[in-house]
Amino acid sequence: MKRLVFFLSMMVALLTLLFLSGCSSVGVQVWERDVLSKPEMQMDRPALDRAIDDHIYFSKEASSGGRGFGGGGCGCN
């Protein structure tokens, strides 16, 4: 029983460490965005598709915007 408690507490400690270390790398640096800058990496679909989707979100959920976060792009300017 004592060993089991010890093992479990070590597992919790290990998981905590893994969560903490998750913050040690904060994403792609600006000079590394060559692949992300390619057109096929953009999350935006064709304009018509996007407009139709936006209309659905606006009319059914009263929400709009929120695009342009994350995903592709060269992060320039």
């Binding site: 070590m10 600006v30 000079w31 965005r33 060559d34």
Partner: protein, 171 residues
């Protein structure tokens, strides 16, 4: 007793592991390399001296659209001020060297171009946007840092460089 020793050993392991795993997040950045021109001088060919010159250091990449717009402007700036003691050092951060060379083939810049495919120099300069440029005075000290490329800012940079060049004579 044996359990206690094991506990101590395991605790030591976790403390070491936590220090190693979280090190990149907690590393305190050394004095900013960008503050002085000396760092860029070390990566240039020996024939290029920046002593006593006003220097414009520009970080660019072939995949960066504003960089493509900035090159003709830099070329014009170089032609306008080079005789007065002005140098441009363009640092290409492309991993794909062929893409960088193709970019340069299209533009054919007259100023110095160096390559930083590993991003080592970019990291030391702490870049936060592409392109990023640094203007150094004749004393080698950083005068202004500019993120991105916008025409209105380019005009004011032109004026600042002109003023810096008028402050002293070419060595």
């Amino acid at each position: 007793m044996a359990d206690y020793a094991l506990h101590v050993r395991v605790a030591r392991f976790f403390i070491s592991a936590s220090l190693i795993l979280t090190a990149p997040a907690t590393t305190i950045q050394a004095k900013n390399t960008a503050d002085s021109i000396s760092a860029i001088q070390t990566i240039l060919p020996d024939s290029t001296s920046l002593d006593g010159k006003v220097v414009y250091v520009d970080f660019w990449a072939s995949w960066c659209v504003p960089c493509r717009h900035s090159f003709p402007w830099m070329q014009g700036l170089y032609e306008k001020y080079h005789q007065k003691g002005f140098e441009i050092v363009a640092v290409g951060v492309d991993k794909d060297h062929k893409a960088a060379l193709k970019f340069l083939e299209d533009i054919k810049p007259a100023f110095s171009v160096v390559f930083d495919s590993t991003g080592e120099i970019a990291k030391r300069y702490g870049l936060e946007a592409m392109p990023t440029s640094f203007v150094y005075g004749r004393d080698g000290r950083l005068v202004i840092q500019n993120r991105g490329f916008h025409q209105e800012e380019a005009d004011s940079l032109d004026a600042i460089i002109g003023q810096l060049l008028n402050k002293g004579k070419t060595k």
